[in-house]
């Protein structure tokens, strides 16, 4: 009997341990931060200290605004006013260039979104006064922006006094924000600034070149943008240069520029007395971008590392897969006629140098490129 008991215990221990290990293995494969599901540091089988459901879709600070809750009811401190209905999703979209999720959900772990009251105490009379209390924390999040772009500090712009509160209000508000999104932010093409520098007052900044061609993401410059950047009352809509009058130091003022451009670059590259022309690949490098290359981001050819690596003008430097057999001449915009398609490249492109004009005079006396073409033009160059 004793032996049997002993066996049973061993069996139980083995199964329980192996069961735990199985779960553990699964966890490891999933590669999830423990804090995603567990609230304590060492969860055990008996005390898993799991976070409250629903756990299948836990919001983190790494989610897209579109995946976040549309409406959140803030009803933790209701004394004078009714609960606040906060249109979360639209605010999340707005904050994309103002610090993202972490702008409000600051000091959040990589795990689930922490509730504000896990740090900010609901009681104003408290021991630890180094953090604002819950009421203060909520209001600072809202009012920092709201007072800046609307100048409003009145309570009733967000709150409904308890006496005027009607319970059906929630549905009305839910409807109002259903599917509503922040409009797509229109990007300026060109911005001209009038600075207070002694030489070269005007700075021309080609915004879409930087974002589209140079492939710089919005948030690499627009990190802590406030709503008033667009919604401000003093927004300039005419085409006059934007006045920049600041006491900032050189570094502070050029922070965004010198993160790519060297600090010691020639000032006249951006500063001038007149509005400057945009970057022209032909003028700067002697190699014009054709219709296929013009829409590429710089990094596609020059690599993403700065300073950009130099690329020679040989096609096969980039198009390494091209050879005599598989090259279709029509990609250049010129479909060779039957006669010419039989020729080898070198017959027209002397010494296989594709950067210089093809020569017709090798075979023809009275033909010249580009006046006469050895085939059909299939696309505009």
């Amino acid at each position: 009997m004793k032996k049997f008991n002993y066996l049973l215990t061993v069996l139980f221990l083995v199964t329980s341990v192996s069961a735990q290990q199985n779960i553990g293995k699964k966890h490891l494969q999933l590669n999830i931060n423990c804090k995603t599901c567990h609230t304590c540091d060492v969860p055990t089988k008996n005390e898993p200290c799991l976070v409250t459901c629903p756990r299948e879709r836990i919001a983190t600070v790494y989610q897209k605004p579109e995946e976040t809750p549309e409406l959140i009811v803030i009803n933790e401190l209701v004394k004078r006013y009714s609960p606040v209905y906060f249109s979360h999703r639209i605010h999340a979209q707005m904050s994309a260039m103002g610090g993202g999720c972490e702008g409000c959900h600051h000091h959040n772990t990589t795990g689930p979104i922490l509730k504000c009251n896990s740090c900010h105490e609901p009681n104003r009379k408290r021991e630890n006064i180094s953090l604002p209390d819950l009421k203060g924390a909520y209001h600072r999040q809202c009012m920092d922006c709201h007072r800046e772009w609307s100048g409003e500090t009145g309570c009733n712009s967000c709150h409904v006094p308890l006496k005027d509160y009607k319970p059906e209000k929630k549905e009305v508000i839910q409807k109002r924000y259903a599917g509503k999104e922040h409009p797509v932010i229109l990007e300026p093409t060109k911005l001209v600034y009038e600075t207070n520098s002694a030489k070269g007052k005007l700075v021309t900044f080609y915004h879409d070149d930087h974002s589209k061609k140079f492939g710089i993401s919005c948030i690499s410059c627009h990190k802590q943008e406030s709503c008033s950047k667009c919604h401000g009352v003093n927004r300039v809509t005419d085409n006059k240069p934007i006045k920049v009058d600041t006491k900032n130091t050189f570094e502070e003022q050029h922070r965004n520029c010198i993160s790519c451009h060297s600090k010691n670059e020639d000032c006249s590259k951006c500063h001038s007395d007149k509005v400057l022309a945009p970057f022209d690949h032909y003028k700067s490098t002697g190699w014009a971008l054709n219709k296929y290359h013009i829409n590429l981001s710089c990094a596609k050819c020059h690599g993403s590392k700065l300073p950009y690596k130099k690329v020679d003008n040989q096609c096969i430097s980039c198009h390494q897969g091209w050879n005599n057999e598989n090259f279709k001449h029509s990609v250049t915009g010129l479909q060779l006629d039957e006669m010419h398609s039989e020729l080898s490249c070198e017959d027209c492109h002397l010494e296989n140098n594709f950067a210089i004009k093809p020569s017709c005079t090798n075979c023809h006396d009275d033909y010249s490129y580009p006046k006469q073409k050895p085939g059909k033009v299939v696309g505009k160059k």
Binding site: R124, K125, I129, G136, H139, R140, M143, T153, C155
Partner: protein
């Protein structure tokens, strides 16, 4: 013999003088309460957080039974066009100033009694009506107040106001740090209502620590100065800001407390009217003596 009579006179006046000093020292002991408790409370006003909603103005009036009106009327920002001072109708007011460093938002500054650690009003009050309490508040006894307004003159922040409209019962009025509320364990009314907790209530030592931490963590946000930490020997209410305090209408004050030396003398002179009465008695006595002497001299002639 004029020499002899002068000696007599000096002797007599010395005795009476000693009597007065004796009296005044004994009364000075029962002078104003001036406690500087290490656990005294205070408020840290972070003007970089304040949004200028003026809810504190409303709550203050409401707590002190002053006509307050409704809260919505305080949303009117036109009041900021003029700089205001606390008076008998409003014990605290918020003023607005142009933006400070690294901000394009105006600076809003709440003004009220600073509740000095070494209050000049307590020192100046000739009847000892003012007192610094254990919890840090500087309050006064309306029943003792004789309306001399010395406190108004003495205050380095020009805070105490005077209710002129009640001729028979004039009142000095100023922020009392919600003495009655805090006694019941409540927060001061302004601290309680502040939506953004620009006003942090806590032990003064702790507030200084918090303020230093904020400056250290956000050097771009604040200037490196806690107003009230050292000014006039320290105040219970302290301020953080992102521009020089002189630009926010704060007076430029030294670290030395308002004169405390004069305190005991002044209180001695006026306490319970005993010293003035004795002074007049002394003068009367001298007058009587000299008159009597003259009479005697005339008789001798």
């Amino acid at each position: 013999m004029p020499g002899k009579s002068r000696r007599d006179f000096l002797k007599k006046s010395a005795i009476i003088g000693a009597g007065i000093t004796g009296l005044s020292t004994s009364t000075a002991k029962a002078g104003p309460k001036n406690i500087l408790s290490p656990d005294r409370m205070g408020v840290l006003v972070d003007t970089t957080v304040c949004v200028g909603c003026r809810n504190c103005e409303w709550a203050c009036k409401d707590a002190h039974n002053l006509p307050a009106g409704n809260l919505e009327s305080y949303e009117d920002r036109k009041v900021f066009e003029k700089k205001r001072r606390p008076d008998h109708t409003a014990l605290t007011v918020v003023n607005e100033y142009s933006p400070g460093k690294n901000s394009n938002m105006p600076v809003d500054v709440k003004v009220q009694c600073m509740h000095c650690d070494h209050p000049a009003c307590v020192s100046a009050c000739i009847v000892g009506a003012f007192s610094k309490q254990e919890n840090g508040s500087v309050i006064w006894d309306t029943d003792m107040c004789i309306g001399c307004r010395y406190c108004m003159v003495a205050c380095p922040f020009q805070v105490p106001a005077f209710e002129y409209h009640k001729a028979l019962h004039p009142d000095i009025m100023k922020c009392d740090f919600c003495f009655e509320r805090t006694k019941e364990g409540k927060l001061p009314a302004c601290v309680e209502i502040c939506p953004v907790e620009a006003l942090t209530y806590g032990p003064r030592t702790e507030l200084v620590r918090v303020a230093r931490e904020r400056i250290k963590k956000n050097p771009d946000r604040y200037i490196d100065h806690i107003f009230g930490e050292y000014e006039v020997g320290g105040t219970s209410w302290m301020y953080l800001a992102n521009k020089d305090f002189s630009e926010l209408d704060f007076p430029k004050l030294g670290d030395k407390p308002a004169p405390g030396v004069s305190e005991s003398i002044q209180h001695g002179i006026f306490a319970y009217f005993v010293p003035p009465v004795s002074l007049y008695a002394l003068l009367g006595g001298i007058m009587w003596i000299s008159k009597r002497r003259k009479e005697l001299e005339e008789e001798l002639k």
